[in-house]
């Protein structure tokens, strides 16, 4: 079947060696209903001799029955598999096709263009390295074209070929081609950057598909097949850090324990230091075991069995990762979902989540927004319907070990499965840990920031209150005195005739943040909501005194960025741990239960001492009055008090 084999000039072994050395390229074809996808694939199969004579004869027979090409063999019929599709003349599912050329073997995911089948497109796109997007030259860039472009972008396909098809019908008019190209470019500029190539084409007549043509003298680029053969598909998945989700533990006897799995990212060698997550156990790779002998190196997407130097426990669902470059571990993640079921998603619903080889129950805590894929704007919503795409926060029973999807597709993707019917409800791309992403979430469209319509200016407020608004964050260990200092500071400001408001972690938790616990994520969220409030308070010209433990440096930085760095003061109540423990005003340190439940900063986990606070108060050495005086002096010095 392969015309490139010539029995006269080479032996079969030579040929097979060449065939064996070919690269694999998985690509997706997409476009609207009548853009000619099936015809294109039929043409590629036909022109690369990927079709046998009996198949062609069957197509010729079928062409008489269903064909749209008046007697000619309708190549589209080669690819439309199921009978109901043949009768309806549309492709209703993802079909996979195979052909090969001199340099590469291709797996083509042929996906339907009909609007209601977005889920199939996402399915096809999930495993592809490249997308061929067809545009009908007569209709130009349509709503469907834009949608398909967005979906391929969301699913992280790194390169796209835009094939402007049916150029024969518009008489190979260069203006038509240029206009469509410009339209497409202006739209795709709004999406993350990726490799993008254009080609004019007639799939029906075969121009610029498998061979060049004279039809478009103004086009001097390669034909589609040449692009498919030559575009650099690299080894992207080996450039990212080592990740191996454990699929199956091979343990035939006490002497051998191999962690079988497919490398999702990176490269591994014997001697490499690794960690097993989420447990965090560390070890060294001693062997990369395979049926064909041990390997000196293995890269994604190879399936291997890793043998470790230490007798440590790892089971299916765990991930073996490079020690030096570890993924994120979190039980609350933010992901973009493609919703694939008729029954809409409601917040609060529970699912079975699959990520890597991990299967765990999960809940959709909230739906942040829906993405309008026509305008690329985010829209507030109560639920997600079939084929809609939206951002959600998920909470999992077992923490996920992940990389953001745009960094590693294999460890950043997930699916949600219905708990009862077992249907695959959604595909998800993880964007990050929820507590991190919330700080930087983009505002929703239509919900403009406060202040635009205000009738009182910032200057007027300054004059009235005799102050410039500022947020003073008092951070420090439990027992370091920050709450009392905050109360005294508020009193002092009041006595000076200033307008200030005070809140601390405890009072915020009694109302606004009563749904939050004391995990690292919840502590972060407690501070984020409080800082959002502080920002509103400052916008009204009022000073905010905030007493929070805020143990993480990154969280404090985010707080400063959120409120505005030029109106944010970090004051560190620097009493050391021993002093706080001895004083223990709330009995926290003595409370063994608290220790086991949520952990105590400075003991169960680190309190990260601020490196460059605006002010550091030795609160164990100076009294409250002195502390307040120093803060007031700082506020004066920085021009917040007049």
């Amino acid at each position: 079947m392969d015309p490139r084999f010539d029995a006269d000039t080479e032996t079969i072994d030579e040929y097979l060696l060449r065939h064996e050395g070919k690269q694999l390229l998985r690509f997706l074809t997409c476009g609207s209903v009548d853009d000619g996808k099936s015809t294109l694939i039929g043409r590629l199969l036909h022109d690369t001799k990927g079709i046998y004579e009996d198949q062609l004869a069957a197509v010729e027979g079928a062409s008489k029955k269903y064909g749209t090409q008046a007697g000619q063999a309708d190549l589209a019929l080669l690819v439309d598999g199921l009978r109901s599709e043949r009768e309806q003349g549309i492709t209703i599912d993802v079909a996979y096709r195979y052909f090969s050329t001199e340099h590469r073997k291709f797996i083509v995911a042929d996906t339907p263009g009909h609007e209601q089948y977005t889920r199939n497109m996402a399915t096809g796109a999930s495993t592809c390295d490249l997308a061929v997007l067809l545009v009908d030259a007569r209709h130009g860039v349509s709503v469907q074209t834009r949608r398909h472009c967005v979906i391929t972008s969301l699913l992280g396909i790194p390169r796209i070929i835009v094939a402007i098809n049916k150029m024969d019908i518009v008489d190979w008019d260069q203006d038509v081609y240029d206009r469509i190209k410009a339209d497409f470019e202006s739209f795709s500029a709004k999406l993350p950057n990726r490799e993008q190539v254009f080609v004019p084409m007639s799939a029906l007549e075969g121009d610029y598909v498998a061979e060049g043509s004279e039809k478009a003298p103004w086009y001097d680029g390669p034909c589609l097949l040449e692009l498919l053969e030559t575009l650099d598909i690299g080894s992207d998945e080996q450039k990212t850090p080592f990740r191996l989700p454990v699929n199956y533990v091979i343990r035939p006897d006490l002497d051998f324990r191999g962690f079988g799995g497919r490398i999702e990212s990176g490269i591994v060698r014997p001697g490499d230091r690794i960690a097993v997550l989420p447990a965090g156990t560390e070890s060294t790779v001693s062997r990369i075991s395979t049926f064909d002998g041990d390997l000196e190196m293995a890269g994604a997407p190879r399936s291997v069995a890793i043998v470790l130097e230490d007798e440590i426990d790892a089971s299916r669902g765990d991930m073996i990762v490079a020690l030096e470059n570890q993924p994120v571990v979190a039980d609350r993640v933010t992901a973009d979902l493609v919703w694939m079921h008729e029954e809409p998603l409601q917040p609060g619903r529970e699912f079975i989540l699959r990520h890597g080889t991990r299967v765990t129950p999960c809940r959709v805590r909230r739906i942040a927004h829906r993405l309008d894929i026509d305008t690329l704007e985010t829209v507030a919503c109560d639920g997600l319907g079939l084929n809609e795409i939206g951002r959600v926060e998920l909470e999992t029973d077992v923490p996920l070990v992940f990389d953001p999807y745009d960094q590693v597709r294999g460890t950043g993707s997930l699916i949600l499965v219905d708990r009862i019917g077992n249907w695959t409800m959604a595909a998800g791309m993880i964007r990050g840990k929820s507590s991190d992403l919330r700080w930087t979430a983009a505002p929703l469209s239509g919900a403009d920031r406060h202040g635009d319509e205000g009738l009182v200016s910032a200057e007027e407020r300054e004059t009235r209150f005799g102050q410039k608004p500022v947020t003073v964050l008092l951070t420090g260990l439990a027992g370091s005195g920050k709450t009392r200092i905050a109360a005294m500071l508020e009193r002092a400001l009041f006595d000076l005739g200033r307008v200030a408001i005070r809140f601390d972690g405890t009072t915020m938790r009694q109302g606004l943040n009563r749904d939050l616990g004391f995990s690292a994520e919840d502590r972060s969220e407690n501070l984020r909501r409080s800082m959002e409030t502080a920002k509103l308070v400052n916008d009204e010209g009022i000073i905010c005194v905030a007493a929070f433990l805020a143990p993480r440096a990154t969280t404090r930085e985010k707080a400063a960025t959120l409120v505005g760095p030029d109106r944010f003061l970090t004051v560190h109540c620097a009493a050391p741990l021993e002093y706080c423990q001895r004083k223990d005003p709330t009995g926290l340190y003595a409370d063994a239960e608290a220790r086991s439940l949520d952990g105590i900063p400075g003991i169960s986990f680190e309190y990260e001492t601020p490196e460059n606070p605006d002010l550091s108060l030795p609160s164990h050495q100076i009294d409250l009055e002195e502390s307040v005086n120093r803060i007031l002096a700082l506020m004066n010095e920085r021009g917040f008090l007049r």
Partner: protein
């Protein structure tokens, strides 16, 4: 000095994917079984299963649905392979069909296939309470196969419904099923016929000698060469078996499997012939010619 990256050829990529799928089955199902049809695809699948669990044994049994009309050489090969590799082999025949004297010659290929293959398979799967059967089907074999999932869902009656198949994204397989339901898993989904042969050649995998050309007794019926493998074939008046150099591109029940005339007596020669062949391998299968869409119908009923 160490290399910067580990470049995989397309066959190595396919192998890695298949091994991962086979491990997935072993890890996520209670009672998996691997279909063993003795053909070249089964031989590749068996080889991949050995690789997947090396140095351990294959952690599930192999199931052969014996229609009692297989080529004798296939049965000999099956028994030899099972013994050499220490396989846990289950052989099942539909005994009701055997008692009824079910024959492709008498009952026609449609009824015969239903009773001796489809029904027999369902019996064996139900009897073993298997919740996942691994099969060697490839998507390039036939048009309706092109849309088959890697993990293909079957209802309580082992039936396949193209409309209830679950979307498959990345390699995040949804292997969850309800009581009585099952899954057919196809680790060779993305392989082509050429890939299979090339892999057999490179990996030196043992296959049934029927794939190689030899002098064999055949009769020609409706343009298909049928091998006279035993005396159960009723010869038409005036029909006498002729010795011809033939081989088989696919193997099944001898009355339903057409031979091709060929000189290719080695694997390399078979591949050489295939590279210049202009007809697809399923042409030798009588079953596909029952009507346009016939494979789709058989699959809905539970055929592999």
């Amino acid at each position: 000095m160490t290399l910067a990256h580990d470049q995989l050829s397309h066959l190595q990529s396919l192998e890695a994917e298949s091994i991962d799928i086979i491990r997935e089955v072993a890890a996520s199902f209670q009672r998996p079984v691997m279909m063993y049809s003795i053909g070249k695809d089964s031989s590749v699948m068996l080889h991949l299963a050995r690789k997947a669990f090396h140095p351990g044994p294959i952690p599930f049994p192999m199931l052969h649905v014996d229609t009692t009309w297989k080529f004798r050489e296939m049965i000999a090969f099956r028994d030899r392979t099972a013994k050499e590799l220490g396989l846990d082999l289950i052989v099942h025949s539909n005994l009701e069909g055997v008692a009824q004297g079910m024959s492709p010659f008498v009952h026609g290929s449609r009824v015969y296939t239903d009773v001796m293959k489809t029904q027999a398979l369902k019996q064996a799967l139900s009897a073993g309470q298997f919740d996942c059967a691994i099969g060697g089907a490839r998507r390039d074999e036939e048009k309706s196969r092109a849309k088959e999932r890697v993990f293909s869902f079957r209802d309580r009656n082992h039936r396949w419904d193209p409309k209830t198949q679950r979307p498959e994204l990345w390699n995040l397989w949804n292997t969850r099923i309800g009581p009585g339901e099952s899954v057919r898993a196809f680790p060779l989904s993305n392989w082509t016929e050429l890939d299979v042969w090339t892999y057999i050649h490179l990996e030196k995998i043992d296959v049934v000698p029927l794939y190689l050309s030899a002098e064999r007794p055949v009769v020609e019926r409706d343009g298909v060469l049928i091998m006279v493998d035993d005396d159960r074939i009723p010869l038409e008046p005036g029909e006498t078996p002729e010795m011809k150099k033939v081989r088989f591109r696919t193997l099944g029940c001898y009355p339903l499997t057409g031979a091709v005339e060929s000189e290719a007596a080695t694997l390399a020669e078979v591949i050489t012939e295939m590279l210049i062949a202009r007809t697809s391998e399923r042409q030798g299968r009588v079953i596909d010619h029952d009507g346009d869409g016939s494979m789709e119908d058989k699959k809905k009923e539970g055929y592999f």
